[in-house]
Each structure stands twice: as structure tokens, then as C-alpha cells.
């Protein structure tokens, strides 16, 4: 049986290609970000391949796992996700609640469930589950009069507000906002009445004020303050953003060269394998390298939109819209953060930042998106 017979004629090979290209480039960047000249890991003990980066090897394993996850989700029929959407959703909500009680505390918040061999981060899981449930609910109840009214929005809002609240109290503001952004993007894609949009815009302004005065933690406020004036405390609170901008800016047009980024290699860049991985790319490959990688994301999102356009059913379309929102939001917030647009929130750069949970989630979700193009002809009629 040929590959074409399995995946069908509509399968988006270009999306698959870019989906694998981005994390592959990510491995290259990560090798540099985690480069330690004193390290000597003799791969296969042949004295021929010497690896000088721990995180590179780990991420290679994560990439393998994520690739397998993607292959599986790619081949699962879309109706499977439709059928079990609520089951997954409530299962994930249950885990999210469990995390508040049994979760492991690190850096002052409960985010992880320890499951023996590996740690599970239910907030990653819920991102995909919210997409599934939102897609199912919105496709079942499209706006009655072209655009959603306030009453029609109550249920979809509850779908993403509930997990948002559970994540917010962990506390993990960045992930909570990303869940909200995904839900919001899906609702907006379907269309919302202008009055509601305006009302929400006003509400958001008031909300920011309330947030500032009531529930934002001091460290979160500091992060916003330094965004506007990082040089006020360049050695302390403004250190990360200052060094990040220096790394990006000093890359100039063509960068300092692979493994040559002084900001990264001499450890001036904090969190350079995770949240600030984009700086390593920008410093060593310059404007040209940064724009190239941005181009890859843009191409990825473009292919996703083409899938949406060609999809024959609303559930699949909304599924892909949600997954696009997931990737776009993480990418935009992360890059916006390192170049000084947005305050520092701990969101990883999809498929480039070091970390298994994020990579598996992203490839898992992209597998679902690719799955909607597999043998689509089978479902037609």
C-alpha cells in the first residue's frame, strides 16, 4: 500500500514539511544555546560524534517522542476527536483540579503532576482539549443571525474560562492567557456583534486597571514596569529584557555566526535554551536568520489557513483555526517579549524552545490539523 493510498490526495505535504523543519532548525539553535566547550559526550562511543550540548540530546529525544505523537494523531480520524472532545476536556479539567491539590511546587506555583517516570503538565493538555470542545460546540451552534450575540457566547466563554481560572490560581498567568486567547480567537473567527466587541474592548481596559490594583503579583507588575523602562534597573529587574535586546540587536544583518554569539555563549542571556531561544537565533544569524524563521512560521500559518479554506466541514475548520491560534499566540507573545514589545511571561517559542511538554503538545496539535487533510475524500458524501 503506497503512502498516497494511506494519506490520500489532499494531504498537505507542505505543512508536514514545515512542521518538521521548524523543530529541526530548533535543534540546531538549541545545540548552540546549550553549547558547553568543556563538555564531551561521545555519541555511540565511537569517538567520532562528539556532542557538546546536553539540552540538544534531550530535545532530540523529545523530538522523537513528539514525532511519534504527531504520526499517531495525524492518522486518527477527525471524527474520533469530535466524538470524544468532551471526555478529553473534562478529563483534563479533572487533572487540572488534581494539580492544585497534588501538584509539585516549583518556583512558587503548582504546575506539574508527578507520574513516576515523567511529569505531566495538565495545563498543556487543556490547550488542545479546549480547542476540541470549542470546535465541536461552535460548529454545532453557529451564530443564528450571522454574528454571535451575548447570550450565545455564554457557553463558549464558560468552556475556556473554567480552565483559565484553574490555571490562573496555580498561578500561571501566561498559560491562562493563552487558553483565553485560543478560545477568544475561535469565537472571533465565527463572528461576534460589533457592540459586544466594543464592550469587551472597554471591559479589557478596565480589567487591566483592576488587575494592576488587585491581583497582579509584585513580580508581575515589575515585569510590566521594566518593559517601559528596562534601563532603570539594568542589573536587576531589567536585566533579562536588556540583555535580550542587546543579543537581538547585536546580531545585525547576518549575525555573529553559529556558536559565536557572545551574549549566548558567555551566558549574558538568561533562560537562553527556553524562553529566550529566539535571541540566540537572532544574535548568531542576524536579521536574515530571524526573518527566515519568522517566514517559516508565516508559511505554516498560511498552510493552515488554506486547510481551513478547503475544509468541507465546520468542525475541522474550527479545529485548524484553534490550532493556528495556539501556535500564533505562543509565537507572537514569545518573540514580542524578547524584542521588547510585551512584558516577560514564561511562554515557550513553539517547536524551538527546549522542553518536552511544549514540543509534544505542538506536534500533537499539528498532527490533528494534518489529520483533517488525511483521506478527506473518505468522509465526503
Amino acid at each position: 500500500m503506497s503512502v498516497r493510498k494511506i494519506v490520500g490526495v489532499t494531504f498537505d505535504w507542505q505543512l508536514l514539511f514545515v512542521t518538521l523543519l521548524i523543530p529541526s532548525l530548533g535543534l540546531g539553535i538549541l545545540y548552540s544555546a546549550g553549547y558547553d566547550p568543556d563538555l564531551k559526550i561521545d555519541l555511540f562511543s565511537l569517538n567520532s560524534i562528539i556532542i557538546k550540548s546536553h539540552v540538544f540530546l534531550k530535545q532530540l529525544l523529545f523530538f522523537g517522542a513528539a514525532f511519534v505523537a504527531m504520526l499517531i494523531t495525524m492518522l486518527i480520524p477527525t471524527r474520533f476527536w469530535h466524538r470524544y472532545a468532551y471526555l478529553f476536556y473534562f478529563g483534563a479539567l479533572l487533572l487540572l483540579s488534581a494539580v492544585l491539590v497534588y501538584g509539585t511546587i516549583s518556583n512558587g506555583s503548582r504546575r506539574w503532576l508527578s507520574l513516576g517516570a515523567f511529569n505531566l503538565q495538565p495545563s498543556e493538555l487543556i490547550k488542545v482539549c479546549v480547542i476540541l470542545v470549542m470546535a465541536r460546540y461552535l460548529s454545532k451552534t453557529p451564530p443564528r443571525h450571522g454574528l454571535y450575540s451575548l447570550t450565545e457566547l455564554i457557553v463558549p466563554a464558560l468552556i475556556f474560562l473554567l480552565p483559565m481560572l484553574l490555571i490562573f490560581v496555580q498561578p500561571d498567568l501566561g498559560t491562562a492567557l493563552s487558553v483565553g486567547a485560543i478560545g477568544g480567537a475561535m469565537v472571533l473567527f465565527m463572528g461576534v456583534r460589533k457592540k459586544i466587541l466594543i464592550a469587551f474592548a472597554l471591559l479589557a481596559v478596565v480589567g487591566v486597571g483592576v488587575a494592576w490594583n488587585s491581583f497582579l503579583l509584585p513580580y508581575q507588575k515589575d515585569r510590566i514596569r521594566v518593559l517601559f523602562d528596562p534601563e532603570s534597573d539594568p542589573q536587576g529587574k531589567g536585566w533579562q529584557i536588556t540583555q535580550s535586546k542587546i543579543a537581538v540587536g547585536s546580531g545585525e544583518l547576518f549575525g555573529k555566526g553559529y556558536l559565536q554569539g557572545s551574549q549566548a555563549q558567555l551566558e549574558f542571556l538568561p533562560e537562553r535554551t527556553t524562553d529566550f531561544i529566539f535571541c540566540v537565533l537572532s544574535e548568531e544569524w542576524g536579521f536574515s536568520g530571524s526573518v527566515f524563521v519568522l517566514g517559516l512560521y508565516a508559511f505554516l500559518l498560511y498552510r493552515m489557513m488554506m486547510i481551513v479554506l478547503r475544509s468541507k466541514d465546520l468542525f475541522s475548520a474550527l479545529l485548524v483555526v484553534g490550532i493556528s491560534a495556539l501556535i500564533f499566540f505562543h509565537m507572537f507573545v514569545n518573540i514580542g517579549m524578547v524584542i521588547g514589545y510585551l512584558p516577560i511571561v514564561g511562554l515557550p517559542l513553539p517547536m524551538l524552545s527546549y522542553g518536552g511538554s511544549s514540543l509534544v503538545t505542538m506536534l500533537f496539535a499539528l498532527g490533528v490539523a494534518l489529520g483533517t487533510t488525511v483521506r478527506r475524500n473518505l468522509y465526503v458524501s
Binding site: Q235, L294, Y302
Partner: protein, 642 residues
Amino acid sequence: MYAYDKSPVNLAPRVVVTLILLVLAFLLLVARLWFLQIMRGDYYKQRSENNRLKTVYIPPPRGHFYDREGKILVKNRPAFNIEFVSEQSSDTDKTIRELSSITGVEAEELTKQLKNQKSRRRFEPKVLLQDVSRDLVAKVAARSTQLPGVIVNYYPARWYLHGDFASHVIGYIRQISDAELQSPKYAGYYQRGDLVGKYGLERKWEHFLQGKRGYQKVIVNVRGVRIKDLPAKEAAIPGHNITLNLDYAVQKAADDALKDQAGGVVAMNPKTGQIYAMASSPRFDPNMFTGEISKDQWQDLIAGRGRKLNNRAAQGAYPPGSVFKLLMGAAGLSEGVITPQTTVHCPGYLSFAGRRYHCHKRSGHGSVNLYSAIVQSCDVYFYVLGQRLGVDRIHDYASRFGLGAPTGIELVQENPGLIPSTKWKREHYKGTEQEKWFPGETLSVSIGQGASLATPLQMAVAISALVNGGKVMKPLLVQELSAAMGSYHDSDFPPKVLKDTEVASEHLDSVRKAAVGVVNDARGTGRRSKLPDEWGITVAGKTGTSQVVALSRKTDDKKTEHHAWFVGYAPAEDPEIVVSALIEHGGGGGKVAAPVVGEVLKAYFERRFVEPEEGTEEKQEQPVVEIEGEPQVQAEKKEDQE
């Protein structure tokens, strides 16, 4: 049940709007990247270079001091600091408590030190204890596992090998102050944390002693750790070594002879002006300036009874008393108002203007000539001589011998002393009734009293001129400045005649003959300065006992005592050395100051007659690793602790 029916909404316009929004979002990101990387790329490139490139300065080894025989007096040694790196310790309080129990220093004291250096980054070492003993270093090193974050750093420190030996001449060094950094003398080269000479020759010859720092450009990581050295570098140039004219044995004898009395001693070669010894008491130990100095210690140094930082040999001015009579004799002979044979009757006083001016010997000396007047220090003879000369001629001759003006020695704040004149009084007391010169005052000046003031150094220079044929020599502390690297030329300090007294040598000889009598005659006042008879070296000189202003007599017992002077030289026929000694409130010059001069002369001539014993050469306390400049990252220079 499964929604595979055709989409109830039209997707195309939604996708188009989404794509437009995406394009805008990406443009926003690209625009920012363009701004940071292309428009401001140069700026950020520079900042990243500033991050990674550091200049490590290599302090130059400061020049050493040697005595005239090449004996080492001052060099450099490694000093150890106990420092703390917060980043390496998870529990600062626990580490501090542990360190406190090892060192015996109060934990609060250590915590205070940390707080004072709050501005340093977490990975930068903060100094806890300065210049600790090797024992303590060993103890701390042995317990290093219980002391996370505690490190031992070493840096070059000044080492004055003989403690307070000649402390007023050599001086001391200390961290440069903010004010000094901005002064034209230091601006440009010096940096915060540099050690500079603050006193004595350490200060005077600072620019030669300092040398030139070297540097090494290095690449550092975020914690300031050196990753790689770059080719750009320059070696440090050691400072000039200074060979002094001081003679260790003579200086030591002067230091010791002063004991705990306040006073000053100067020994010099009358022919060359070379200073063999310049002692001032009480002394200070310049080594103490390496570490921290408490408020009390400072008070003790600059104020208090001792005023230890006061160099009494050059900064202390006292009425020269009867020593001045030697110059009076020379002036009288030179002006022809007396001859050696001229006699004056001393009944114990001189009546003048209805007042009796007493001789120190109330019963009187009877008939005295110049010789016996000097030997017995008869005041009446010199009252008469003073009247014949008049104050302005006295002033003229005193000036010819270098009194009343700085000698030009290489020390700052030299006291110029004072010999009064009618002109001086007119200017000094302008507009008051004191403006006029009273003839009675001439009598006081004639015996070195009244407003007259001179330093022990000036007296040594003046008596040198008396015994060397009338040449006022520039006093010379430094023999040679030599640069180890040959980058500067050696500078010699040849004898320099400042002026000629223009007093005929026969007159000078007459006075010198009397000075021999002062020490050697049965009735002489300076007999206690004599050298052992078997050496066959004749000492000559003149005692002085200068009165302390009566005002303070009632308040302080000790202060009512007279200042004791003695200026001596030997051998009397062809003097090689002149020694002047002053003991503040010491009492009679013959009793107190003459023995001091005797000790110094003894030390000078001793080696010609006594074989040095084996093993008397002072042993160095410890083998020392010479530091020729320990590299220090500029950013980690010590804070000024004063």
C-alpha cells in the same frame, strides 16, 4: 450525528480577514527586528562588546626603599583577604555564623561588612576581613566545605620591614581619595582603589614609585570569569626603587635614643647635605595603613598628645635657644663688633632700660670672652653682642645660615621657622602698637629666644654651614632613583650649595674652637655627647635650653619644662657628620639632648672601631613570596574603606 454536512458559514471571507491580520502581526515583528538589528545594530553590537570585553589591569609593583648601604627598608608582600560570594552560598547567615566561630569576629560585624557592599553583584566577591594572618587563611581553607561562598583572595600590600623605622621620612600609602582622584596631580592615570603615597617620601616621589600599570584585554562571561585572553596587552612597568641617604644604623640609633620622648633628630653630612638620619618621636607604624583604621586610631595619629603624624624634625619649629649663640659669634666676628679677645663682664644679669636681663647663671660668669661665653653659654655676653649688632644684622646672618626659610628638603609641609627683624615686626603687627621694635627684644633674639623659631633640620643645616667653610647645603634624603626596567634614566642627587654665608673662615674657626670646648672643657655644657676616649674622635657642639612661653606654665606641669637642644659634630677638625637633636620639654639641653647626639655619633663611628658580631643582622620574620603585580579585574577593586 456527525457534522459532515457542508459548512453553515462561509469560510472564505473569514480566512481572508485572518490572513490580513496575520500579515500585519508579522510585519509588526519584522519592523521591530529591523529597528533593533539594522537601525540600532551598531549600538547593540557595541553594548554586547562592552559585555564581553574587559580590561584587566595589572598593578605595577611599587618601588622599594633601600638605605645608603643597600639594606632593604620597604617592599611588597602578598596580603590575604577573606571574601564572600553570595551567589555560591544558599544560606548566607549560616555561612557567616560558621565563619564567625572560626575567626572569632562577631557575626554582626561580618554582616555589617556585607551590607556596606550591597551594590556589588551576587557573583562579585565582597570583602569580609582584610589582610588576615596566614594561620587564619589555613583555618578557613581547611573548613572550606562548611563555608560555601567564602573565598580567600590575595593582593600586593606594602611592607615596611622595620615597622616604625624612619616612619616620618618614608611615609605611608593608602587608597586614593575621591578628592585626590580629581586633583591635577593624579587625574588621568589614577583609578579608584589605587594605592598612593599619602605622607613622606611615599607621597613626594609617588609618580616614580608607582610605576605604570599593565593591562590585558580578556573575554569574560556574565560572572566575570576569564574565558580567554586576547592578544592586546601590555606588561606592568615596576616603579623606581629609591636609595635613601639614610644610614640604617644611624637612623636606628636616633630612633632609639629618642625613646618615648617627643622630639626630633637630624643627622647630616655637612659637606654634601646628605641626610643620614631624620627621626621624629613618637613614631607610627606605616604597616597599619594596609588594613582598616578605626576612628580612635586616627585620633591617636593626628591629634592627641603624641600627634604621631607630626614630623618634629622638619615640621616642628622651636626657639633655637643657646645653639643660636654659635651663629651670633660668627656674625659678631664677621661684622667686627667683637674679636675673639673681646671680654664682657657678666655679673649674672644685664641692666637695660630699667630692667634686669638675667643670665642663666644667676651668680654670673665674671669676665668672659667669645670662647668662654660659648663654652659656658653666658647669656650676658650675647646680650651685649646683640646690642652691638642690632636685630636686623642678627636677622641677616641667621638668614645667611639658612634660618627663617625652608631648607628645600623633599618633604611636604616643611616649617620655615622664623628669625624676627624690624621689617618682619612692622609687617606682622601692622597697625597695632606691637608694630615697633623694642630694643629689649633684641636681647631675647640674641640668645635664640623671643619670636625665633627653627626646626632641628634647619639647625643641622646652619651648623653644617658653620663647619664646612660657610656653605649652606641642600639637605638630601634621596641618593638615587633607579628603574628596574631601564625605561627611565637614573637620576642622581649631587650635593647642592644653596648659598654662601660669606663669613670668613678664620671667624668660623674661632667659633668652632669654642664649640670644641663646649664638649671637651671641664666647664663645658655638652660633655655628655663625648665619644669613647679610645676612639680619638673629638666631638664639638652647642647646647640649648629654650624657654617655653610662660603662659602655659600654670596649666600643665610637663609643658612648663624647657625644650632641650644639642647640635654636635665630629670629628671636630674635619667634620663628617652634624647631628641636631631636640627634645620637647626635655629640660636642660646638656643633660637631655647631648646624650642623644652622643648615641647617634656613636652609631655613626662605631663600625670603624667595633667588629660587627656574627648574626646580629636582623633576620626577616618570614620567607616572603614577592608579588610582582597580581592581576585584578578593575570592576572588582576594593571600595575605599576610610
